[in-house]
Symmetry: C2
Subunit: 325 residues, 2 copies
Amino acid sequence: MQDLNTAQVEQVTLNFPKRDSEWPYQALGPAYAAGIAYTDDRYVPVADARISLLDWGFTRSDACQDTISVYDGQFFRLEDHLERFERSWKSLRLENPLSRDEVRDVVRKLVAMGGWRDAYIQIIMTRGTPPVGSRDPRLCKNRFHAFAIPYVWIANPEAQQRGLKVHVSDICRVPAQSVSPLIKHYHWLDFEMGLFEALDHGQDTVLLKNIEGYVAEGPGFNVFAVSDGHLLTPRSSALDGMTRRTVLEIAKEVGIEAAEVDLSVAALQDADEAFLTTTAGGLLPIATVNGATLGSAPGSVTGRLHGEYWGRRASGWLSSPALYW
Amino acid sequence: MQDLNTAQVEQVTLNFPKRDSEWPYQALGPAYAAGIAYTDDRYVPVADARISLLDWGFTRSDACQDTISVYDGQFFRLEDHLERFERSWKSLRLENPLSRDEVRDVVRKLVAMGGWRDAYIQIIMTRGTPPVGSRDPRLCKNRFHAFAIPYVWIANPEAQQRGLKVHVSDICRVPAQSVSPLIKHYHWLDFEMGLFEALDHGQDTVLLKNIEGYVAEGPGFNVFAVSDGHLLTPRSSALDGMTRRTVLEIAKEVGIEAAEVDLSVAALQDADEAFLTTTAGGLLPIATVNGATLGSAPGSVTGRLHGEYWGRRASGWLSSPALYW
């Protein structure tokens, strides 16, 4: 943490990819413009997509998901997402009625039907409902659902450029002792309450701690600190985020040292730079932590990784083309 | 814990209330027999009740509920349930579009329309969805839902009489550091995975520990041990269950000492008797804990409290009549 008045804040300009709002393609009518869902084996406008009020995916949050992005007509790490999704539902002892090929097909069709160059897709498994009178989870008919909507940024463009103001809450992320953090699940009340706290404090978003008191993750993102040119990121109680994984891979390739550590709030506040990673925005710089201004936002390491990330994506790295009708 | 071969298992016969399956009344057609829901301001057959796939009540499990029972045409502690429900949604900073009178009215109408003498009702609040492109929880339109179905017992009649075989899992109940246990929420993946474990071990149901390693609660129930004639029940990390509360009140009135304690697994296994408490069944005796047979099942204290509970309910204690058309 630097003194707010004397801090020499280095300023790097981030080149975010242009959003192709001009893309004229729309395969279906306006009812589908806001999004398309696949549920009960049918494609419907997302506004009409529903799940049963009795599905244990709702009444027990007995569900898992994966979030996939398309940018400039390219899926990013599609097979890795499909693999992580399978790991999630298998861990929950769910049976997917669709094969991996069928899931991939649904994902591709949703994007093709929407015609979006930039899209945000969720694939979802729910426990479903047991026979009437039974409470046996083994007897439930498991269900697959999916939806695609135009790409969502986790923060608005101003906040992306100036860096996010992050509140660290004392609320703990649901611990691994309760639910494996390797399952991408919907237990988010901790994040939701933390988000209210952050907004109460005039901050943009929130980071939760793990049960041991170290920094864990935020709603939909992982976090990295940059200290003396090295990357530090929480080692446990955090989702195996796809963008986190990507940043660690890029860092290795370009020779930036990275370590998975117990990251204290003090260490994050003392960092030279920090950023968060998310499918809904890539790398986003952090400007302040609990009101303390970081060394620089965005800093040079953040800027370099940000450039590598979007540059590689633009060149088709780990990407596969979306198909349009 | 006693030796399985030499244990002198005292056997008390529990008089469970007769299920009035003969009740001939059915206000609506057969489509409504399985249950009725109130959602989007309409009453629909429960099979048709849906919530939006995009409701944060699903995609963030940002929701709370309360479960109410009707037995022999009598609501039990209806106002207490409505009050606890309000505490839950206020804690989550939700706004209920319905007043308490309107919620009560929906609950009464659901039961009247179903015509059930014995019913299980859930009232639910979900965060709803924010405006397109926003991720601000303050901007979500919160929603109220409810459903009523014929009364569900948490265990079948045989298991109720012989006592339940309970598995204690090493999985921890989502801790208070993450989500307040005073909110009746849907974060149940810990219970669900524990339930699979229990079934794998040939047991009827599961108890989770709290993060400190003491016995916490099971899926939809609290637990009591009886030791030297006294009641012991977990003091924290457990839902403020309505039947738990009722048993503590009855115990006080009839002069059975009760204490809220840190209950170890060993203490539960060493107990003379044990039982669980739930809206879906009242008091249900526990026969074994991790395979160890308890002193008696059902034991005399369990039998006495069970008799008091159902006897008082039959006499209209803390009850209000359901209305039928």
